[in-house]
Subunit: 206 residues, 2 copies
């Protein structure tokens, strides 16, 4: 199909498609003339993934890394997960104290001979930011986060599809990023539900 | 204390403090002369909160709303939570289909006569973004998210401090925002731990 048809099919403006082509997020179409190229189903699917990532607040640079992981998946789901996480990990300055994060890693069931230094630093920074604000997470609350994270990960891992390598890649890479806003929104909603039960509150209808 | 002393005490540059004053994030000091003002412990504490929010990626506009909630807390923890959530909620276009989100709200134990339309729309958009990407969350995984969100909220609600109104405000407002990066980092770490158990993977030391 032509770029105008691709635009209609994927619901993405032609100018945006051209931008993604320049940014190498989208593979070039098959040249049919010096000024025309043909696009296929792979372009439609890829456009949907790009839009989803960008709409989730993932930057163009991060999206490029995720797309690279989709293009050249490493060998096991474990390594793929590490690539996906690295792609969307915020930059963390070196030399951050990771002792509290390492403790949580062990409580999650982690093996000290196999940990991801980047993720450890990301967690360490999140903990430090909380601490610096003068706010402290009660130990019971942190315990609940650890238990919940482990339960979530077990359900997600059990759900990894087995029908094709491509489906594994999509599940792991997209699941990592795309589910985050769902989890955070559910937590906030649950906080309101539980707070309403405990403290009451003004009834509110849309 | 003078602004230079406030800067040293809170570890925030003078220029940044002046910016926060202009942006009305920080209350004015007590004027001691046309060019000088005196600052106190409240300014130090407030500066720490602002830094924490900004470091967590909260925008200046959102930070202003959270600070407003800290200044003028509503009556119950339930309403305070709604204010804190509204302050940090992304903007969602009107008219989004909230039926799937409403279903999850009910599964969280929510009362249909008392729901927060904004949070419902935020969840609906997160679900729609996942769907549009062509990725679908398996029902078992979504179930795990619901259970985990409820458990987290129960631990958080049980941990609401009772010693003072100010501590309630800080706990609810900061806890909502500041814990999110911790929860997301723990989930990613748990995914790696569980994936390593299930699929193995290359040993990695820092």
């Amino acid at each position: 199909m032509r770029i105008s048809e691709l635009s209609a099919e994927a619901g993405v403006p032609v100018a945006t498609i051209k931008y993604y082509l320049r940014e190498k997020l989208l593979p070039e179409g098959l040249r049919t003339s010096p000024t025309q190229a043909a696009y296929g189903a792979v372009h439609v699917q890829r456009l949907r993934v790009i839009r989803a990532l960008v709409e989730s607040g993932v930057s163009i640079a991060e999206t490029r890394k995720v797309i690279a992981a989709l293009n050249a998946p490493p060998s096991s789901p474990y390594e793929l997960l590490a690539v996906a996480h690295a792609a969307v990990a915020p930059e963390v300055e070196e030399g951050i104290d990771t002792s509290a994060a390492l403790d949580l890693f062990v409580r999650l069931g982690g093996n000290l001979e196999r940990y991801d230094a980047t993720q450890l630093a990301v967690l360490a920074r999140a903990l430090r930011t909380v601490e610096r604000s003068g706010f402290s997470l009660p130990p019971e609350v942190l315990d609940a986060y650890v238990v919940a994270a482990r339960q979530i990960a077990e359900a997600e891992t059990a759900g990894i599809p087995t029908e094709s390598r491509d489906s594994v890649v999509r599940y792991v890479v997209l699941g990592t990023v795309m589910a985050e806003p769902v989890i955070l929104a559910l937590r906030r909603m649950a906080e309101q539900v539980v707070a309403a039960e405990h403290f009451g509150g003004r009834a509110e209808s849309a």
